[in-house]
Symmetry: C2
Subunit: 328 residues, 2 copies
Protein backbone atom coordinates (compact mmCIF):
# COMPACT_ATOMS: atom_id res chain seq x y z
CA UNK A 1 0.00 0.00 0.00
CA UNK A 2 1.22 3.51 -0.62
CA UNK A 3 2.32 5.72 2.22
CA UNK A 4 -0.60 7.54 3.81
CA UNK A 5 0.39 10.87 2.22
CA UNK A 6 1.68 12.38 5.41
CA UNK A 7 3.99 15.33 5.00
CA UNK A 8 7.60 14.35 5.73
CA UNK A 9 8.90 15.42 9.11
CA UNK A 10 12.33 16.01 10.46
CA UNK A 11 12.28 12.49 11.86
CA UNK A 12 11.77 11.10 8.37
CA UNK A 13 14.71 13.07 7.06
CA UNK A 14 16.84 11.90 9.96
CA UNK A 15 15.91 8.28 9.33
CA UNK A 16 16.74 8.48 5.63
CA UNK A 17 20.02 10.26 6.31
CA UNK A 18 20.73 7.82 9.12
CA UNK A 19 21.38 10.46 11.73
CA UNK A 20 19.52 11.68 14.79
CA UNK A 21 16.81 14.32 14.70
CA UNK A 22 19.13 16.66 16.54
CA UNK A 23 21.75 16.44 13.83
CA UNK A 24 19.23 16.86 11.06
CA UNK A 25 17.87 19.93 12.82
CA UNK A 26 21.36 21.36 13.19
CA UNK A 27 22.06 20.96 9.51
CA UNK A 28 18.77 22.31 8.26
CA UNK A 29 18.50 25.19 10.71
CA UNK A 30 22.18 25.77 9.97
CA UNK A 31 23.34 26.30 13.50
CA UNK A 32 25.76 24.18 15.43
CA UNK A 33 28.48 21.89 14.20
CA UNK A 34 28.03 19.34 11.45
CA UNK A 35 30.56 17.35 9.46
CA UNK A 36 30.62 18.01 5.75
CA UNK A 37 29.57 14.51 4.73
CA UNK A 38 26.76 14.49 7.32
CA UNK A 39 25.60 17.81 6.06
CA UNK A 40 25.47 16.45 2.52
CA UNK A 41 23.58 13.33 3.51
CA UNK A 42 20.98 15.33 5.43
CA UNK A 43 20.40 17.93 2.74
CA UNK A 44 20.17 15.16 0.16
CA UNK A 45 17.57 13.35 2.24
CA UNK A 46 15.60 16.54 2.78
CA UNK A 47 15.72 17.26 -0.90
CA UNK A 48 14.62 13.75 -1.79
CA UNK A 49 11.68 13.75 0.59
CA UNK A 50 10.68 17.29 -0.25
CA UNK A 51 10.93 18.19 3.40
CA UNK A 52 9.48 21.48 4.56
CA UNK A 53 9.83 22.48 8.20
CA UNK A 54 6.54 23.00 9.99
CA UNK A 55 6.28 26.68 10.89
CA UNK A 56 3.92 25.94 13.75
CA UNK A 57 6.26 23.53 15.47
CA UNK A 58 9.20 25.79 14.86
CA UNK A 59 7.32 28.80 16.22
CA UNK A 60 6.18 26.84 19.25
CA UNK A 61 9.58 25.74 20.36
CA UNK A 62 11.38 28.90 19.41
CA UNK A 63 8.83 30.97 21.23
CA UNK A 64 8.67 33.14 18.18
CA UNK A 65 5.36 34.20 16.76
CA UNK A 66 3.57 32.98 13.77
CA UNK A 67 2.32 36.12 12.22
CA UNK A 68 3.49 39.63 11.77
CA UNK A 69 1.06 42.42 12.42
CA UNK A 70 1.10 45.43 10.19
CA UNK A 71 -0.34 48.32 12.10
CA UNK A 72 -1.44 51.29 10.07
CA UNK A 73 -1.98 54.39 12.08
CA UNK A 74 -4.49 57.04 11.13
CA UNK A 75 -7.65 58.84 12.09
CA UNK A 76 -9.94 56.79 9.90
CA UNK A 77 -9.88 53.20 8.63
CA UNK A 78 -9.74 54.68 5.17
CA UNK A 79 -5.98 54.88 5.50
CA UNK A 80 -6.06 51.20 4.67
CA UNK A 81 -7.27 52.11 1.21
CA UNK A 82 -4.21 54.16 0.40
CA UNK A 83 -2.27 52.49 -2.41
CA UNK A 84 0.97 53.27 -0.62
CA UNK A 85 -0.18 51.24 2.38
CA UNK A 86 -1.37 48.45 0.12
CA UNK A 87 2.00 48.28 -1.53
CA UNK A 88 3.81 48.09 1.78
CA UNK A 89 1.56 45.36 3.14
CA UNK A 90 1.68 43.37 -0.07
CA UNK A 91 5.46 43.47 -0.12
CA UNK A 92 5.60 42.49 3.55
CA UNK A 93 3.37 39.49 2.90
CA UNK A 94 5.60 38.36 0.06
CA UNK A 95 8.73 38.60 2.16
CA UNK A 96 7.18 36.76 5.09
CA UNK A 97 5.76 33.82 3.17
CA UNK A 98 9.01 31.83 2.83
CA UNK A 99 9.50 32.08 6.58
CA UNK A 100 6.12 30.53 7.21
CA UNK A 101 4.93 33.76 8.70
CA UNK A 102 1.68 35.40 7.73
CA UNK A 103 0.74 39.02 7.83
CA UNK A 104 -2.22 40.50 9.61
CA UNK A 105 -3.45 43.97 8.84
CA UNK A 106 -4.66 46.29 11.55
CA UNK A 107 -5.79 49.84 11.78
CA UNK A 108 -4.67 51.81 14.83
CA UNK A 109 -7.06 54.67 15.51
CA UNK A 110 -5.33 57.83 16.59
CA UNK A 111 -7.89 58.13 19.37
CA UNK A 112 -7.06 54.78 20.87
CA UNK A 113 -3.37 54.08 20.85
CA UNK A 114 -3.90 51.68 23.75
CA UNK A 115 -5.00 49.12 21.19
CA UNK A 116 -1.34 48.73 20.43
CA UNK A 117 -0.84 47.11 23.80
CA UNK A 118 -3.58 44.58 23.20
CA UNK A 119 -2.11 43.81 19.84
CA UNK A 120 1.28 43.17 21.33
CA UNK A 121 -0.07 41.04 24.14
CA UNK A 122 -1.70 38.66 21.72
CA UNK A 123 0.04 35.34 21.48
CA UNK A 124 1.70 34.38 18.28
CA UNK A 125 2.64 37.85 17.22
CA UNK A 126 6.15 37.73 15.86
CA UNK A 127 6.42 41.45 15.53
CA UNK A 128 4.93 44.73 14.52
CA UNK A 129 5.38 46.83 11.44
CA UNK A 130 4.13 50.29 12.19
CA UNK A 131 3.09 52.31 9.19
CA UNK A 132 2.55 56.04 9.62
CA UNK A 133 4.31 56.03 12.93
CA UNK A 134 4.39 59.03 15.22
CA UNK A 135 6.32 59.63 18.43
CA UNK A 136 3.06 59.08 20.33
CA UNK A 137 2.63 55.68 18.73
CA UNK A 138 6.20 54.80 19.54
CA UNK A 139 5.59 55.75 23.15
CA UNK A 140 2.55 53.48 23.25
CA UNK A 141 4.54 50.43 22.18
CA UNK A 142 4.57 48.09 25.17
CA UNK A 143 8.11 47.38 26.42
CA UNK A 144 7.61 43.65 25.90
CA UNK A 145 7.62 44.30 22.16
CA UNK A 146 10.83 46.28 22.03
CA UNK A 147 13.13 44.75 19.49
CA UNK A 148 10.33 43.25 17.44
CA UNK A 149 9.08 46.48 16.00
CA UNK A 150 9.84 48.24 12.76
CA UNK A 151 8.69 51.76 12.27
CA UNK A 152 7.89 53.40 8.97
CA UNK A 153 7.44 57.10 9.26
CA UNK A 154 9.57 58.28 12.14
CA UNK A 155 13.10 57.53 13.18
CA UNK A 156 13.93 56.27 16.63
CA UNK A 157 16.94 54.76 18.33
CA UNK A 158 14.89 52.14 20.18
CA UNK A 159 13.07 50.49 17.30
CA UNK A 160 14.23 49.64 13.83
CA UNK A 161 13.07 52.47 11.63
CA UNK A 162 12.88 52.91 7.91
CA UNK A 163 11.95 56.11 6.37
CA UNK A 164 11.48 57.89 3.12
CA UNK A 165 13.49 60.99 2.41
CA UNK A 166 10.40 63.18 2.21
CA UNK A 167 12.52 66.24 2.62
CA UNK A 168 14.75 65.51 -0.32
CA UNK A 169 11.89 64.37 -2.52
CA UNK A 170 9.78 67.42 -1.81
CA UNK A 171 12.72 69.73 -2.29
CA UNK A 172 13.42 68.25 -5.71
CA UNK A 173 9.78 68.61 -6.71
CA UNK A 174 9.43 72.21 -5.55
CA UNK A 175 12.73 73.18 -7.13
CA UNK A 176 11.54 71.63 -10.36
CA UNK A 177 8.37 73.73 -10.24
CA UNK A 178 10.46 76.81 -9.62
CA UNK A 179 12.80 75.92 -12.46
CA UNK A 180 9.86 75.65 -14.84
CA UNK A 181 8.76 79.15 -13.98
CA UNK A 182 6.25 78.66 -11.19
CA UNK A 183 6.46 81.36 -8.56
CA UNK A 184 3.21 81.10 -6.60
CA UNK A 185 3.52 77.56 -5.30
CA UNK A 186 1.04 76.23 -2.75
CA UNK A 187 1.25 73.03 -0.74
CA UNK A 188 -1.42 70.72 0.59
CA UNK A 189 0.25 68.95 3.46
CA UNK A 190 -0.36 65.54 4.95
CA UNK A 191 -1.88 64.98 8.34
CA UNK A 192 -0.07 67.38 10.60
CA UNK A 193 0.59 64.80 13.30
CA UNK A 194 2.76 62.75 10.98
CA UNK A 195 6.48 63.49 11.13
CA UNK A 196 6.98 62.62 7.49
CA UNK A 197 4.37 65.24 6.61
CA UNK A 198 6.28 67.72 8.73
CA UNK A 199 9.49 67.00 6.88
CA UNK A 200 7.79 67.64 3.55
CA UNK A 201 6.38 70.92 4.79
CA UNK A 202 9.74 72.05 6.07
CA UNK A 203 11.37 71.18 2.76
CA UNK A 204 8.69 73.14 0.91
CA UNK A 205 9.15 76.16 3.15
CA UNK A 206 12.89 75.88 2.79
CA UNK A 207 12.87 76.06 -0.99
CA UNK A 208 10.43 78.97 -1.04
CA UNK A 209 12.40 80.88 1.57
CA UNK A 210 15.60 80.43 -0.39
CA UNK A 211 13.80 81.84 -3.42
CA UNK A 212 12.33 84.69 -1.41
CA UNK A 213 8.76 83.51 -1.91
CA UNK A 214 6.00 83.35 0.73
CA UNK A 215 4.51 79.91 1.53
CA UNK A 216 0.89 79.04 0.79
CA UNK A 217 0.05 76.14 3.02
CA UNK A 218 -3.23 74.29 3.50
CA UNK A 219 -3.53 71.24 5.64
CA UNK A 220 -4.60 67.95 4.07
CA UNK A 221 -4.90 64.43 5.41
CA UNK A 222 -3.70 62.17 2.57
CA UNK A 223 -7.23 61.49 1.33
CA UNK A 224 -8.51 62.43 -2.09
CA UNK A 225 -11.62 64.05 -0.70
CA UNK A 226 -9.64 66.38 1.48
CA UNK A 227 -7.26 67.03 -1.40
CA UNK A 228 -10.09 68.21 -3.55
CA UNK A 229 -11.49 70.50 -0.86
CA UNK A 230 -8.06 71.83 0.02
CA UNK A 231 -7.34 72.71 -3.60
CA UNK A 232 -10.44 74.87 -3.61
CA UNK A 233 -9.36 76.50 -0.37
CA UNK A 234 -6.03 77.31 -1.92
CA UNK A 235 -7.70 79.03 -4.86
CA UNK A 236 -10.08 80.88 -2.61
CA UNK A 237 -7.26 82.32 -0.54
CA UNK A 238 -4.67 82.82 -3.25
CA UNK A 239 -6.44 82.98 -6.63
CA UNK A 240 -3.20 83.54 -8.52
CA UNK A 241 -1.64 80.27 -7.43
CA UNK A 242 0.22 78.57 -10.27
CA UNK A 243 1.33 75.30 -8.69
CA UNK A 244 0.05 72.92 -6.04
CA UNK A 245 2.26 70.39 -4.31
CA UNK A 246 0.24 67.50 -2.90
CA UNK A 247 1.60 65.48 0.00
CA UNK A 248 0.62 62.18 -1.61
CA UNK A 249 -0.60 60.88 -4.93
CA UNK A 250 -4.03 60.30 -3.48
CA UNK A 251 -4.15 63.89 -2.26
CA UNK A 252 -3.22 65.07 -5.73
CA UNK A 253 -5.84 62.85 -7.35
CA UNK A 254 -8.32 64.88 -5.38
CA UNK A 255 -6.59 68.12 -6.32
CA UNK A 256 -6.74 67.25 -10.02
CA UNK A 257 -10.35 66.23 -9.62
CA UNK A 258 -11.29 69.53 -8.00
CA UNK A 259 -9.30 71.77 -10.33
CA UNK A 260 -10.45 70.15 -13.54
CA UNK A 261 -14.02 70.13 -12.38
CA UNK A 262 -13.73 73.86 -11.78
CA UNK A 263 -12.41 74.35 -15.28
CA UNK A 264 -8.84 75.07 -14.29
CA UNK A 265 -6.22 73.97 -16.84
CA UNK A 266 -3.51 71.61 -15.57
CA UNK A 267 -0.68 72.25 -16.06
CA UNK A 268 -1.59 75.34 -18.12
CA UNK A 269 -3.01 77.40 -15.26
CA UNK A 270 -1.74 75.38 -12.36
CA UNK A 271 0.89 72.65 -12.11
CA UNK A 272 0.22 69.75 -9.76
CA UNK A 273 2.60 67.23 -8.21
CA UNK A 274 2.00 64.15 -6.10
CA UNK A 275 4.12 61.91 -3.90
CA UNK A 276 4.55 58.11 -3.93
CA UNK A 277 4.23 57.21 -7.62
CA UNK A 278 1.29 54.88 -7.14
CA UNK A 279 0.31 52.78 -10.15
CA UNK A 280 -2.50 55.08 -11.19
CA UNK A 281 -0.37 58.22 -11.20
CA UNK A 282 0.44 57.56 -14.84
CA UNK A 283 -3.24 57.27 -15.69
CA UNK A 284 -4.66 60.56 -14.57
CA UNK A 285 -5.39 63.39 -16.93
CA UNK A 286 -2.92 64.89 -17.17
CA UNK A 287 -0.58 62.21 -15.86
CA UNK A 288 0.83 63.08 -12.48
CA UNK A 289 4.34 64.33 -11.84
CA UNK A 290 5.33 62.74 -8.57
CA UNK A 291 8.18 61.20 -6.63
CA UNK A 292 8.91 57.50 -6.55
CA UNK A 293 10.00 55.33 -3.63
CA UNK A 294 11.38 51.81 -3.33
CA UNK A 295 8.37 50.56 -1.42
CA UNK A 296 9.16 46.89 -1.84
CA UNK A 297 12.68 47.48 -0.58
CA UNK A 298 11.42 49.35 2.45
CA UNK A 299 8.98 46.62 3.34
CA UNK A 300 11.63 43.96 2.86
CA UNK A 301 14.04 45.78 5.11
CA UNK A 302 11.41 46.27 7.79
CA UNK A 303 10.27 42.65 7.75
CA UNK A 304 13.74 41.19 7.87
CA UNK A 305 14.68 43.51 10.71
CA UNK A 306 11.71 42.37 12.76
CA UNK A 307 12.12 38.71 11.92
CA UNK A 308 15.79 38.73 12.76
CA UNK A 309 14.98 40.04 16.19
CA UNK A 310 16.39 42.62 18.43
CA UNK A 311 20.08 42.40 17.70
CA UNK A 312 20.40 45.33 15.36
CA UNK A 313 18.31 48.45 15.22
CA UNK A 314 19.00 49.90 11.82
CA UNK A 315 17.81 53.34 10.84
CA UNK A 316 17.63 53.71 7.12
CA UNK A 317 16.52 56.57 4.93
CA UNK A 318 15.27 55.54 1.52
CA UNK A 319 15.57 57.89 -1.43
CA UNK A 320 12.78 59.78 -3.09
CA UNK A 321 13.29 60.33 -6.79
CA UNK A 322 11.15 62.72 -8.85
CA UNK A 323 9.18 61.34 -11.80
CA UNK A 324 8.32 63.93 -14.39
CA UNK A 325 5.01 63.56 -16.17
CA UNK A 326 2.49 65.95 -17.65
CA UNK A 327 0.94 67.65 -14.65
CA UNK A 328 3.89 69.80 -13.71
Amino acid sequence: MPAPQRAPTLADVARVADVSRATASRVLANNGYAAAHTRDRVTAAAEKLGYQPDPAARALVRGTGVRLVTVVHGTSPRVLEDPYVDQVVGAAARVCAPHGVGVALHWLPTRDLAQLRQLGEQRGVSGLILVNTTPAVLAAVPPTLRGRVASLGVGSPVVASFDIDNGGGTTALVEHLYATGRRRIAMISGSSWLPCAGRSVRAYRGVLRAAGLPPRLVRGDFTAGRGRAAAREVLARWPDTDAIVGASDVTSFGVLSGLLRDGVQVPGDIAVTGFDDTPLAAMTNPSLTTSTHPVAGIATAAVTAVLNGNAILPQTLFPSRPVHRMSG
Copy 2:
Protein backbone atom coordinates in the same frame (compact mmCIF):
# COMPACT_ATOMS: atom_id res chain seq x y z
CA MET B 1 9.99 38.71 43.25
CA PRO B 2 7.42 39.25 40.52
CA ALA B 3 6.63 36.55 38.01
CA PRO B 4 9.04 36.65 35.06
CA GLN B 5 6.43 38.12 32.73
CA ARG B 6 5.71 34.87 30.94
CA ALA B 7 2.46 34.77 29.00
CA PRO B 8 -0.14 32.64 30.80
CA THR B 9 -0.60 29.16 29.42
CA LEU B 10 -3.43 26.72 29.59
CA ALA B 11 -1.72 25.04 32.50
CA ASP B 12 -1.85 28.30 34.46
CA VAL B 13 -5.55 28.66 33.79
CA ALA B 14 -6.13 25.05 34.82
CA ARG B 15 -4.21 25.56 38.05
CA VAL B 16 -6.15 28.69 38.98
CA ALA B 17 -9.47 27.06 38.12
CA ASP B 18 -8.36 23.92 39.95
CA VAL B 19 -9.07 21.58 37.08
CA SER B 20 -6.92 19.59 34.70
CA ARG B 21 -5.49 20.96 31.50
CA ALA B 22 -7.80 18.67 29.58
CA THR B 23 -10.88 20.19 31.16
CA ALA B 24 -9.66 23.71 30.67
CA SER B 25 -9.03 22.95 27.04
CA ARG B 26 -12.49 21.48 26.63
CA VAL B 27 -14.09 24.57 28.06
CA LEU B 28 -12.05 27.09 26.14
CA ALA B 29 -12.09 25.26 22.82
CA ASN B 30 -15.76 24.65 23.52
CA ASN B 31 -15.89 21.01 22.55
CA GLY B 32 -16.61 18.11 24.78
CA TYR B 33 -18.60 17.98 28.00
CA ALA B 34 -18.16 20.39 30.87
CA ALA B 35 -20.34 21.04 33.89
CA ALA B 36 -21.76 24.55 34.15
CA HIS B 37 -19.90 25.48 37.33
CA THR B 38 -16.62 24.12 35.95
CA ARG B 39 -17.16 26.10 32.80
CA ASP B 40 -17.65 29.25 34.85
CA ARG B 41 -14.57 28.69 36.96
CA VAL B 42 -12.41 28.10 33.90
CA THR B 43 -13.65 31.08 31.95
CA ALA B 44 -13.23 33.25 35.03
CA ALA B 45 -9.67 32.08 35.47
CA ALA B 46 -8.89 32.66 31.80
CA GLU B 47 -10.37 36.12 32.03
CA LYS B 48 -8.43 36.94 35.16
CA LEU B 49 -5.11 35.83 33.75
CA GLY B 50 -5.74 37.36 30.37
CA TYR B 51 -5.17 34.00 28.77
CA GLN B 52 -4.72 33.85 25.01
CA PRO B 53 -4.25 30.49 23.35
CA ASP B 54 -1.00 30.11 21.48
CA PRO B 55 -1.83 29.79 17.79
CA ALA B 56 1.39 27.93 17.10
CA ALA B 57 0.74 25.21 19.66
CA ARG B 58 -2.84 24.92 18.58
CA ALA B 59 -1.89 24.68 14.93
CA LEU B 60 0.77 22.11 15.70
CA VAL B 61 -1.49 19.69 17.49
CA ARG B 62 -4.51 20.25 15.33
CA GLY B 63 -2.49 19.75 12.21
CA THR B 64 -4.08 22.87 10.88
CA GLY B 65 -2.00 25.52 9.25
CA VAL B 66 -0.89 28.80 10.54
CA ARG B 67 -1.40 31.02 7.60
CA LEU B 68 -3.81 31.38 4.80
CA VAL B 69 -2.48 31.92 1.34
CA THR B 70 -4.23 34.29 -0.97
CA VAL B 71 -3.41 33.31 -4.48
CA VAL B 72 -4.08 35.87 -7.14
CA HIS B 73 -4.07 34.49 -10.62
CA GLY B 74 -3.07 36.53 -13.63
CA THR B 75 -0.61 36.91 -16.45
CA SER B 76 1.51 39.55 -14.74
CA PRO B 77 2.34 40.36 -11.13
CA ARG B 78 0.67 43.69 -11.74
CA VAL B 79 -2.66 42.08 -10.86
CA LEU B 80 -1.53 42.51 -7.28
CA GLU B 81 -1.80 46.24 -7.77
CA ASP B 82 -5.47 46.13 -8.59
CA PRO B 83 -7.44 47.91 -5.86
CA TYR B 84 -10.07 45.17 -5.99
CA VAL B 85 -7.46 42.59 -5.08
CA ASP B 86 -6.09 44.84 -2.36
CA GLN B 87 -9.51 45.17 -0.84
CA VAL B 88 -10.06 41.42 -0.83
CA VAL B 89 -6.70 40.68 0.75
CA GLY B 90 -7.08 43.42 3.33
CA ALA B 91 -10.47 42.14 4.37
CA ALA B 92 -9.15 38.59 4.54
CA ALA B 93 -6.30 39.66 6.80
CA ARG B 94 -8.71 41.41 9.14
CA VAL B 95 -10.97 38.36 9.40
CA CYS B 96 -8.07 36.00 10.00
CA ALA B 97 -6.32 37.98 12.72
CA PRO B 98 -8.59 36.95 15.63
CA HIS B 99 -8.00 33.31 14.74
CA GLY B 100 -4.27 33.74 15.04
CA VAL B 101 -3.92 33.12 11.35
CA GLY B 102 -1.92 35.34 9.07
CA VAL B 103 -2.36 35.95 5.38
CA ALA B 104 0.26 35.50 2.74
CA LEU B 105 -0.09 37.00 -0.69
CA HIS B 106 0.99 35.15 -3.77
CA TRP B 107 0.80 35.66 -7.46
CA LEU B 108 0.02 32.63 -9.60
CA PRO B 109 1.35 33.12 -13.12
CA THR B 110 -0.98 31.82 -15.79
CA ARG B 111 2.02 30.17 -17.42
CA ASP B 112 2.90 28.14 -14.38
CA LEU B 113 -0.13 26.79 -12.62
CA ALA B 114 2.06 24.04 -11.17
CA GLN B 115 3.16 26.57 -8.57
CA LEU B 116 -0.19 25.94 -6.97
CA ARG B 117 0.94 22.46 -6.04
CA GLN B 118 4.09 23.74 -4.38
CA LEU B 119 2.06 26.27 -2.50
CA GLY B 120 -0.29 23.61 -1.24
CA GLU B 121 2.51 21.27 -0.29
CA GLN B 122 4.10 23.87 1.93
CA ARG B 123 3.68 23.14 5.58
CA GLY B 124 1.61 25.43 7.68
CA VAL B 125 -0.82 26.44 5.01
CA SER B 126 -4.28 26.44 6.47
CA GLY B 127 -5.96 27.05 3.18
CA LEU B 128 -6.10 28.83 -0.11
CA ILE B 129 -8.15 31.75 -1.26
CA LEU B 130 -8.04 31.84 -5.01
CA VAL B 131 -8.71 35.20 -6.56
CA ASN B 132 -9.41 35.36 -10.29
CA THR B 133 -10.01 31.65 -10.45
CA THR B 134 -10.45 29.79 -13.70
CA PRO B 135 -11.41 26.18 -14.36
CA ALA B 136 -7.77 25.50 -15.23
CA VAL B 137 -6.67 26.82 -11.85
CA LEU B 138 -9.27 24.71 -10.13
CA ALA B 139 -8.00 21.67 -11.97
CA ALA B 140 -4.47 22.42 -10.80
CA VAL B 141 -5.47 22.42 -7.13
CA PRO B 142 -3.77 19.39 -5.57
CA PRO B 143 -6.28 16.92 -4.14
CA THR B 144 -4.72 17.20 -0.70
CA LEU B 145 -6.06 20.74 -0.49
CA ARG B 146 -9.64 19.93 -1.35
CA GLY B 147 -11.90 21.34 1.28
CA ARG B 148 -9.49 24.08 2.27
CA VAL B 149 -9.96 26.19 -0.81
CA ALA B 150 -12.22 29.09 -1.52
CA SER B 151 -12.60 30.30 -5.05
CA LEU B 152 -13.41 33.84 -6.09
CA GLY B 153 -14.22 34.08 -9.73
CA VAL B 154 -15.68 30.77 -10.82
CA GLY B 155 -18.25 28.51 -9.28
CA SER B 156 -17.53 24.88 -8.60
CA PRO B 157 -19.18 22.10 -6.66
CA VAL B 158 -15.88 20.82 -5.24
CA VAL B 159 -14.54 23.97 -3.62
CA ALA B 160 -16.31 26.71 -1.75
CA SER B 161 -16.92 29.44 -4.27
CA PHE B 162 -17.99 33.01 -3.94
CA ASP B 163 -18.73 35.09 -6.89
CA ILE B 164 -19.90 38.46 -8.00
CA ASP B 165 -22.97 38.71 -10.14
CA ASN B 166 -21.06 40.19 -13.06
CA GLY B 167 -23.87 39.38 -15.38
CA GLY B 168 -26.48 41.26 -13.42
CA GLY B 169 -24.19 44.21 -12.74
CA THR B 170 -23.16 44.58 -16.36
CA THR B 171 -26.73 44.23 -17.56
CA ALA B 172 -27.85 47.03 -15.27
CA LEU B 173 -25.04 49.27 -16.45
CA VAL B 174 -25.63 48.67 -20.16
CA GLU B 175 -29.37 49.08 -19.78
CA HIS B 176 -28.72 52.34 -17.99
CA LEU B 177 -26.60 53.55 -20.89
CA TYR B 178 -29.36 52.53 -23.30
CA ALA B 179 -31.98 54.28 -21.21
CA THR B 180 -29.96 57.49 -21.32
CA GLY B 181 -29.95 57.44 -25.09
CA ARG B 182 -26.71 55.65 -25.94
CA ARG B 183 -27.06 53.39 -28.97
CA ARG B 184 -23.48 52.67 -30.07
CA ILE B 185 -22.17 51.02 -26.97
CA ALA B 186 -18.73 49.36 -26.96
CA MET B 187 -17.21 47.12 -24.33
CA ILE B 188 -13.65 46.59 -23.26
CA SER B 189 -13.68 43.15 -21.72
CA GLY B 190 -11.51 41.67 -19.01
CA SER B 191 -8.95 38.97 -19.65
CA SER B 192 -10.72 36.47 -21.83
CA TRP B 193 -9.62 33.48 -19.79
CA LEU B 194 -11.52 34.68 -16.74
CA PRO B 195 -15.04 33.30 -16.38
CA CYS B 196 -16.27 36.44 -14.67
CA ALA B 197 -15.11 38.42 -17.68
CA GLY B 198 -17.03 36.02 -19.87
CA ARG B 199 -20.19 36.56 -17.88
CA SER B 200 -19.88 40.30 -18.28
CA VAL B 201 -19.39 39.97 -22.01
CA ARG B 202 -22.42 37.71 -22.34
CA ALA B 203 -24.55 40.14 -20.37
CA TYR B 204 -23.39 42.99 -22.58
CA ARG B 205 -24.17 41.03 -25.73
CA GLY B 206 -27.50 40.03 -24.30
CA VAL B 207 -28.68 43.57 -23.69
CA LEU B 208 -27.52 44.76 -27.10
CA ARG B 209 -29.15 41.82 -28.86
CA ALA B 210 -32.43 42.49 -27.08
CA ALA B 211 -32.22 46.08 -28.29
CA GLY B 212 -31.32 45.00 -31.81
CA LEU B 213 -27.88 46.60 -31.67
CA PRO B 214 -24.58 45.09 -32.86
CA PRO B 215 -21.83 44.53 -30.27
CA ARG B 216 -18.52 46.41 -30.36
CA LEU B 217 -16.12 44.34 -28.39
CA VAL B 218 -12.41 44.86 -27.73
CA ARG B 219 -10.45 42.66 -25.42
CA GLY B 220 -8.83 44.19 -22.34
CA ASP B 221 -6.95 42.69 -19.42
CA PHE B 222 -8.06 44.70 -16.38
CA THR B 223 -5.05 47.03 -16.55
CA ALA B 224 -5.27 50.75 -17.07
CA GLY B 225 -2.64 50.68 -19.79
CA ARG B 226 -4.57 48.19 -21.84
CA GLY B 227 -7.77 50.12 -21.15
CA ARG B 228 -6.29 53.22 -22.66
CA ALA B 229 -5.04 51.41 -25.74
CA ALA B 230 -8.31 49.54 -26.14
CA ALA B 231 -10.32 52.73 -26.02
CA ARG B 232 -8.31 54.04 -28.94
CA GLU B 233 -8.87 50.78 -30.80
CA VAL B 234 -12.58 51.17 -30.26
CA LEU B 235 -12.57 54.66 -31.73
CA ALA B 236 -10.43 53.56 -34.63
CA ARG B 237 -12.81 50.78 -35.57
CA TRP B 238 -16.12 52.46 -34.71
CA PRO B 239 -15.59 56.24 -34.70
CA ASP B 240 -19.22 56.94 -33.85
CA THR B 241 -19.15 55.04 -30.56
CA ASP B 242 -21.06 56.90 -27.84
CA ALA B 243 -20.44 54.72 -24.80
CA ILE B 244 -17.67 52.45 -23.50
CA VAL B 245 -18.24 49.83 -20.84
CA GLY B 246 -15.04 48.95 -19.02
CA ALA B 247 -14.69 45.56 -17.35
CA SER B 248 -13.15 47.08 -14.23
CA ASP B 249 -12.59 50.49 -12.69
CA VAL B 250 -8.91 50.27 -13.48
CA THR B 251 -9.69 49.53 -17.11
CA SER B 252 -11.95 52.55 -17.21
CA PHE B 253 -9.35 54.76 -15.57
CA GLY B 254 -7.26 53.98 -18.61
CA VAL B 255 -10.20 54.57 -20.93
CA LEU B 256 -10.84 57.98 -19.41
CA SER B 257 -7.17 58.77 -19.60
CA GLY B 258 -7.02 57.89 -23.29
CA LEU B 259 -10.24 59.59 -24.31
CA LEU B 260 -9.60 62.84 -22.49
CA ARG B 261 -6.05 62.98 -23.76
CA ASP B 262 -7.45 62.68 -27.28
CA GLY B 263 -9.83 65.54 -26.62
CA VAL B 264 -12.97 63.45 -26.41
CA GLN B 265 -15.68 64.81 -24.09
CA VAL B 266 -16.87 62.46 -21.34
CA PRO B 267 -19.78 61.99 -21.01
CA GLY B 268 -20.64 64.51 -23.74
CA ASP B 269 -19.25 62.55 -26.66
CA ILE B 270 -18.81 59.20 -25.01
CA ALA B 271 -20.14 57.79 -21.74
CA VAL B 272 -17.82 55.55 -19.71
CA THR B 273 -18.62 53.04 -16.99
CA GLY B 274 -16.38 50.99 -14.72
CA PHE B 275 -16.83 47.98 -12.47
CA ASP B 276 -15.90 47.48 -8.78
CA ASP B 277 -16.40 50.93 -7.26
CA THR B 278 -12.84 51.29 -6.07
CA PRO B 279 -12.12 54.23 -3.77
CA LEU B 280 -10.73 56.40 -6.54
CA ALA B 281 -13.73 55.99 -8.83
CA ALA B 282 -15.31 59.03 -7.23
CA MET B 283 -12.18 61.07 -7.86
CA THR B 284 -11.73 60.84 -11.60
CA ASN B 285 -12.73 63.55 -13.97
CA PRO B 286 -15.55 63.07 -14.58
CA SER B 287 -16.32 60.79 -11.65
CA LEU B 288 -16.86 57.22 -12.74
CA THR B 289 -20.23 55.53 -13.00
CA THR B 290 -19.58 51.97 -11.90
CA SER B 291 -21.00 49.01 -10.01
CA THR B 292 -20.34 48.33 -6.36
CA HIS B 293 -19.70 45.02 -4.63
CA PRO B 294 -19.59 43.92 -1.00
CA VAL B 295 -15.91 43.06 -1.13
CA ALA B 296 -15.46 42.80 2.60
CA GLY B 297 -18.43 40.46 2.84
CA ILE B 298 -17.07 38.27 0.11
CA ALA B 299 -13.67 38.02 1.72
CA THR B 300 -15.23 37.27 5.09
CA ALA B 301 -17.36 34.51 3.64
CA ALA B 302 -14.40 32.98 1.84
CA VAL B 303 -12.11 33.07 4.87
CA THR B 304 -14.65 31.59 7.24
CA ALA B 305 -15.46 28.86 4.77
CA VAL B 306 -11.81 27.87 4.50
CA LEU B 307 -11.12 28.15 8.20
CA ASN B 308 -14.13 26.06 9.10
CA GLY B 309 -12.85 23.29 6.91
CA ASN B 310 -14.34 20.96 4.46
CA ALA B 311 -17.76 20.35 5.93
CA ILE B 312 -19.77 22.72 3.82
CA LEU B 313 -19.08 23.89 0.31
CA PRO B 314 -21.23 26.94 -0.13
CA GLN B 315 -21.68 28.60 -3.47
CA THR B 316 -22.74 32.16 -3.11
CA LEU B 317 -23.40 34.87 -5.64
CA PHE B 318 -22.92 38.39 -4.35
CA PRO B 319 -24.90 41.25 -5.83
CA SER B 320 -23.56 43.98 -8.08
CA ARG B 321 -25.31 47.31 -7.70
CA PRO B 322 -24.84 50.22 -10.11
CA VAL B 323 -23.47 53.52 -8.78
CA HIS B 324 -24.39 56.48 -10.92
CA ARG B 325 -21.83 59.25 -11.18
CA MET B 326 -20.86 61.73 -13.85
CA SER B 327 -19.19 59.64 -16.54
CA GLY B 328 -22.29 57.96 -17.84
